[in-house]
Symmetry: C2
Subunit: 240 residues, 2 copies
DNA sequence: TCCTGTCGGTACGAAAGCGTACCAACCCGT
DNA sequence: ACGGGTTGGTACGCTTTCGTACCGACAGGA
């Protein structure tokens, strides 16, 4: 009946920082719960904080002039939201950061975060590695959007999400998925059917559950594995 | 009849570095000419160098398991190839780096580059800013691939290229463009026609020339302007 | 000059995805 | 128990892009 040690934050990226740096960050942070679809910032806004998810999942969305949006990355407890702050570019956010799955996370003041980063080479190294993983993530999204079918991309999305909140099921509607994938709601409905009839997932009104990871992986594009690998290399994820 | 001052390298990113840092980098570098379609590295290879283009243009390509590829960013004398090295991740390249337009560039040994980066906060800041611009570039590519037509994306590509090599014309075939855009060769041919008949470009066998930038911008998607802005913010490009 | 390989224009049916719409099933609050 | 809003299944015709193929135009080497 071990409780998690008090020096663990619950965010795996944070937990790989040197204890002093982590303490300095955690000390000045608030554990903040984000409800579903809460926005951390919109394009153009100043980024006052960075956010390390613990329980929930965040999405980074690219937004077009006419309001359409497409998800470019998801962030769970393996990462952080606000890489631009790490890169010293907090004046104007490039996209929208939105909570996907409600949950807690550590909200850290931007100034404090920058100070801690400046003070520790090890922090810089780790976050550089994380930035690289995000680059790979977004790159893979670019190629995925160009070359893969809605069904493959949906399977990929579900897998990535499932990795982050298992064993919970995904509280998402087709409408919501459509916005993430940048397709019609009806296209999502069409894409869900084959995944379900293959026995890979089950879904009811507003919920999706993974039944067979392997089968689902087979229906997804390779992008899933590539991105997963990038984060694994960084964090040595325990493979569930 | 001023010659360019000897302390200018011809690469605008490099030229914004502090003189000592720039000198330290340039000193250990080779000015290397890359012919068209020369590869700097393939996915998975170790990245032994970084490259600062002076005359030519490089492409970063994402590659799929089955050999298809899509361009995710272009790099001219406003940037560098090898952001991953800056991020401390040189072991395995994530994509392919290929020369697009032949030309010179500064090839710098990875170890030396890392040492110079470690030694100068200002270098870290500038390259962090550049990394951020690349992130925006790739993000925009992701949304562009999802939402915009071949014709819009072609117009965007031509504009981005033209910014980097004007007043030269673009030595590219439809086949080549198809690989960059991730579409059929025939789709490129179809997309070229309206751009030409609008008077925005002229093309002959293996070459494309921009006739009317404004008109071409109107036919391109907004992505062109957004990405351009990101690099302008970093480098204060003189607007031609 | 000829020959050969490259380049680009065009065509065809097929597939994927889109915009729109309609309606039934379901959930929740009253 | 009712009613209104949400969710998802389905359908229709349309547009974009695909895969493939054929062929003429052009360029550069022999």
């Amino acid at each position: 009946m071990e409780e998690s040690a008090p020096e663990e934050s619950g965010n795996r990226l944070l937990d790989r920082l040197p204890p002093e740096a982590r303490a300095a960050l955690v000390e000045g942070s608030r554990l903040e719960h984000l409800a579903q679809r809460r926005t951390l910032w919109e394009p153009g806004e100043r980024m006052d904080h960075v956010y390390f998810p613990v329980g929930g999942v965040m999405s980074l969305l690219a937004v077009t002039r006419d309001g359409a949006s497409v998800e470019v990355a998801t962030v769970g407890n393996e990462g952080m939201v606000g890489v631009a702050v790490f890169l010293g570019q907090r004046r104007r956010a490039a996209g929208r950061a939105m909570s996907q799955i409600p949950g807690d996370g550590l909200l850290i003041d931007g100034d404090r975060f920058e100070a801690v980063v400046r003070a520790s080479t090890r922090v810089q190294e780790l976050l550089s590695g994380y930035t690289h993983a995000v680059l790979i993530h977004i790159t893979q999204g670019a190629i995925c959007n160009r070359l893969h079918s809605v069904e493959q991309r949906l399977a990929r999305w579900v897998l990535e999400m499932d990795d982050r909140i298992r064993p919970e099921e995904l509280p998402v509607t087709h409408e919501f998925l459509a916005q993430m994938l940048g397709v019609r709601r009806a296209s999502v409905t069409d894409a869900v059917a084959p995944l379900q009839s293959a026995g890979a997932i089950a879904h009811e009104r507003g919920r999706i559950r993974v039944l067979d990871q392997n089968r689902l992986t087979g229906l997804a594009c390779e992008c899933y594995g590539i991105v997963r690998q990038a984060y694994d290399d960084l964090l040595d994820w325990p493979t569930p």
